[in-house]
Symmetry: C2
DNA sequence: CTTTTGTAATTAACATGTGAATTACATCTT
DNA sequence: AAGATGTAATTCACATGTTAATTACAAAAG
């Protein structure tokens, strides 16, 4: 229960870990002129199908104001489309477009290769274990658990 | 070696984990009108003593352009001071001021309580193990390891 | 001594993070 | 139906992330 030093604190360790991982993916994304967040939006929509903005924001871990801007930019680049929901003028369904799907499929091999290389260097077992521990942390600390 | 779904990918898990942790600290920082990054700068300087900008940026995981802005703001609020290094007009030593130290000391009890509560919910052993795995990941993937 | 090369810090330009306020609709109340 | 309340999305204002370009200075090369 000592005061956590900056050298062994969860927030700093999580930040640094994310940095070293993303460093491997950034060149790929930059070559296709797409940001990390735009990439997350595309992948979530590709996996889950059309979603409303709120749900998409949650799944991609992007805040609503950011998502508004991202959607606007990606609509202009024709990577996603929006269709208003009947009976509720506020909501709209956001869907990935064929061009967006094509981009994801183009990048899939490289993305998998990068991820596999990380897993090899780090070790498959450690990797699985780390994912488990992170999921567990997210569970134990998510605000929905407050009774 | 399957394509990592967004539900079990390291980048997403690290991002979400950091979010749920920081959610506990944000109210405290907001009450003192200080940002997460400014807080990191203060703590690093308090722990390590005066540092040059480059070293401070590395230790606080802040990019140079951001640090330039942060230093400017914190100098105006008198939380840090800068002293030019003799013999090299480019460098300057950045140091935490008495007011900065006072802020850190004021917040220390609450900060420790928050951290301890997280550790209790999550489990001390899991917590240690997670830190170990993260350190190991950072080691195995940091760019200095490229031969 | 001048030029070249290297390094630290800053600036520029644009995207995102963040909290607060606002807008546009829906729904509930009376 | 009119007003009160709730919800989804956006807008605003400002801080930071990110890359590229630039400035300021130092050190090496000629």
């Amino acid at each position: 229960m000592l005061p956590p030093s900056t050298r062994r604190s969860l927030p700093m360790a999580l930040l640094r870990a994310r940095e070293v991982i993303m460093a491997h993916f950034r060149p790929m994304l930059a070559r296709h002129d797409i940001t990390e967040q735009q990439w997350r939006v595309l992948r979530v929509l590709a996996e889950a199908g059309p979603l409303e903005a709120t749900e998409l924001a949650n799944r991609a871990s992007i805040l609503p104001p950011s998502l508004t801007r991202i959607i606007k930019a990606m609509e202009e680049r024709q990577f996603i489309s929006r269709n208003k929901v009947k009976d509720d003028g506020r909501r709209a369904l956001l869907a990935i477009s064929p061009a967006g799907l094509a981009l994801i499929e183009d990048l899939a091999p490289e993305r998998i290769a990068i991820y596999d290389a990380i897993e090899q260097r780090y070790g498959a077992e450690q990797h699985e274990h780390l994912l488990d521990l992170l999921e567990s942390l997210i569970q134990s600390e998510s605000s929905e658990n407050q009774t």
